[in-house]
Symmetry: C2
Subunit: 205 residues, 2 copies
DNA sequence: CCTACCGATCGGTAGG
DNA sequence: CCTACCGATCGGTAGG
C-alpha cells in the first residue's frame, strides 16, 4: 500500500521478467520469443509487461546486459606473478563452471554473435578487447620469461573460449554423442580436465 | 516450353531459393527469416516460392540437409596407420578451412544447436555419434601404441570442433578483438597454426 | 492525481 | 508466375 511496498513489488516483477526473458531468449532467440510468453512465465498479463519494459527490444537489451555481468566480468585477468600452469587451469576451470552454471547466458551471448552482434559490438570493441589484451600481455610476458612456449596469445584465448562455451552452446550434440540424457558435474569436470591437460601441456616450453 | 526446359528452370529456381534461404537463416535464424525475404532474394514473388517449398519449415529442413553435406561429410575419419601429428594437423586445417569457406553453414548448424537441435537430433545420435566413435577409436589406438599421451578422445574432438567453429560462429567478436574489418586467409592460417601447435604439442607423450 | 493491473482491441504483418 | 486475399497472431496501447 505504501510507496515502499509498491516499489518492492515493482522490483520483484522486473526481476521475474528478466529471468523469464533470459530463459526464453536463450532457447528461442529474439524473434522466436513473444512478449505474451515472457509475461506468462512471469505470472502477469501481457499488458502489464509494458509497465516494466516498453518494448521487446528493451527487455532483450536488459537481459543482454545482465548476461554480461555473469558471463564476462567474473573472468579476472591472469596474475603474471603466479604460476602459469595454475593460472591457466584456474581460468579454464572457471570458464567451464560458467558454461555449466549459466548455459542460458552463454546461449544468449551466442545468439547475439550469430546475429552479427548488433547490440554488443561497442562492448566487444571496448571492454572485451581490453580484457583480451590484458590476457595477451600476461601470456607474452610468460613467453619472454621462458615459462611457456611462444604462442599467439589471442588465438589461445579464442581456443579456451571456443572450447569451454561449446559445452553450453552445443549441449544437444554433446548429450547425443556421449549418449546421456543430461550432463552432470562429473562430465564438466572431465571436460575441464581434458582441456587443461592439452592446453597446459601444449604450452610447455 | 518443353518439359526439359521447365525442369531446368525449376531446378535453377530451387537452387536460388536454397542459397537465399541459407544466407537469411544463417544471419537471422528461423523465426527472424520471412518467406517474403527469401522470395525477394531469389528474384521471385512470395506466392511463387510456394511452388518449390510448401512451408518455411520445409525449406529450412532442406537448407539444414544441404548444410550437413558440406559441414560433416568432408570430415573423413583419421587414418590409424598414418602419423598422428600429420593426421591431426590435416583434420584441424580442414575444419578451419570449412569455417572460413562456409561460415553460413556453421551458423545454421549453431542456430539449430541453440534451439535444442529439434530436427538434427536423430542425425546427432546416429551419423555424428558414429563419426565421433570412429575418431575416438583411432585416438585410443594411438594412445595404446604410445604415439600420443592418454587423453579422453571425445573431449579432444569437442575441443577441435569448438575451437574451429568459433571462428565462424563468433566472427563479430573475433573481428572486434583483432581490430580488423574482416578476416582474410592469413588470419585463418594463423588460427589453424596456433590450434595445431597446442593440440599436437599437448598430445605428445 | 497517482500506481498497478485488467479485459478488450488497436494497426500491421506473418505464413499460406 | 501474378493479384488478391484468408485465418492467426504479432507487438503495443486504448479505456475503465
Amino acid at each position: 500500500m505504501t510507496e515502499k511496498k509498491m516499489t518492492r513489488i515493482k522490483a520483484r516483477n522486473e526481476a521475474k521478467i528478466l529471468e523469464a526473458a533470459q530463459k526464453l531468449f536463450a532457447a528461442h532467440g529474439f524473434h522466436g520469443t513473444t512478449i505474451e510468453k515472457i509475461a506468462e512465465l512471469s505470472d502477469m498479463s501481457q499488458p502489464n509487461f509494458h509497465n516494466y519494459f516498453k518494448t521487446k527490444a528493451d527487455v532483450y537489451e536488459a537481459v543482454l546486459n545482465n548476461t554480461l555481468t555473469v558471463w564476462i566480468d567474473p573472468l579476472d585477468a591472469l596474475d603474471v606473478e603466479a604460476d602459469p600452469e595454475a593460472e591457466l587451469r584456474r581460468y579454464i576451470v572457471q570458464k567451464i563452471e560458467l558454461a555449466r552454471k549459466y548455459p542460458e547466458a552463454s546461449r544468449i551471448f551466442a545468439n547475439e554473435m550469430l546475429q552479427g552482434a548488433p547490440i554488443l559490438m561497442p562492448h566487444l570493441k571496448g571492454h572485451v578487447r581490453d580484457k583480451v589484451q590484458a590476457f595477451a600481455a600476461v601470456i607474452e610476458t610468460w613467453s619472454r620469461q621462458g615459462k611457456i612456449r611462444p604462442i599467439d596469445p589471442v588465438h589461445l584465448i579464442f581456443m579456451i573460449w571456443g572450447t569451454t562455451q561449446h559445452y553450453a552452446d552445443f549441449l544437444p550434440q554433446i548429450r547425443a554423442v556421449l549418449g546421456v540424457p543430461r550432463l552432470n558435474k562429473t562430465h564438466f569436470d572431465q571436460a575441464a580436465e581434458s582441456i587443461c591437460e592439452i592446453v597446459i601441456n601444449g604450452l610447455k616450453p
